[in-house]
Symmetry: C2
Subunit: 177 residues, 2 copies
């Protein structure tokens, strides 16, 4: 395959499926020989943002750092995949304005559904007031107004969501087989 | 030209000539069509390390972040050039151990010479005690024991230093024309 450098930016609630869907895309890209890096919340908190908390300011700082790394990768022909909650619209738009090929994927899911799944047991704690500043419960999530791709993890499988993303990347001419 | 991904890591005192020499290398690489990113101290402090100070811990954190970005760039075929003081040997060695193609360039210069040049007026202030934790004056600088390249900005021009670096990159097979 051939591909351009671009940034695939997933956003959505904790547990929405960002990492799962991005892992499918990553695998498919790697198998096709693409250059790709995934910057998920954990990788970045460990390597770039140790010590930052969950205030709006700290969250924005964390997201700007992910954005900076995505920027330098994608302007050098690498595919950068970000999979962090990135709850605030303004900082996402700021990053979009800095990156030439920016593809935002909104992983939509009703709060009730992720709270019911509660894979990491975090929603239960957040709803009991044990985790302050938890996105969607005690902290805001601002959905994108015009994402390039919308997927819904309550209504479709991760594979189906990944398929939508893949189709959009082809449509935009960012990948070609 | 063709090139591999690698990290070219400059280390040396403030004012030693790291940025000047790296800018010559960067220009030459760009003119030859290479993919290259320069991460100097200012770029990184602005984008990855705002709020960090100059304690050993904060300096090491800053250097690790530069190292992380160099790592993801160079494993994707991009040439990453770091030009920060990076005074501590241990963290430089830690980064070397993480990066496949790591080329360390020690820009040697006697303290008296950079203090005499004092391009930014910082040495005068540091020696008057107005800047605490200033590398080489009131904070340590640990020179590399086995750098791939040693240049001396008191004895040679920046162009000559850049020439040495270039020759080493060719010798190592990292660039070829």
């Amino acid at each position: 395959m051939t591909h351009q450098g671009f940034t695939l930016w997933f956003t959505g609630l904790s547990g929405a499926g960002k990492s799962t869907i991005s892992a499918i895309i990553e695998k498919r890209l790697r198998e096709a020989g693409a250059k790709v890096e995934v910057l998920d919340g954990d990788v970045v908190r460990a390597n770039l943002s140790k010590g930052l908390g969950f205030s709006k300011e700290d969250r924005d700082t964390n997201i700007r750092r992910i954005g900076f790394v995505c920027e330098v990768l994608s302007r050098n022909g690498v595919i950068a995949i970000a999979a962090a909650i990135s709850p605030y619209r303004a900082v996402r738009e700021e990053i979009r304005s800095r990156i030439h090929n920016f593809v935002e994927v909104y992983v939509e899911v009703p709060l009730e559904v992720v709270a019911e799944r509660d894979v990491k047991g975090l929603y239960k704690k957040a709803m009991a007031g044990e985790i302050p500043q938890f996105t969607g419960v005690s902290d805001p999530y601002e959905p994108p107004l015009h994402p390039e791709v919308m997927v819904n993890s309550a209504k479709e499988t991760p594979e189906a969501s990944a398929g939508k993303v893949w189709a959009k990347l082809k449509e935009l001419g960012l990948i070609s087989l």
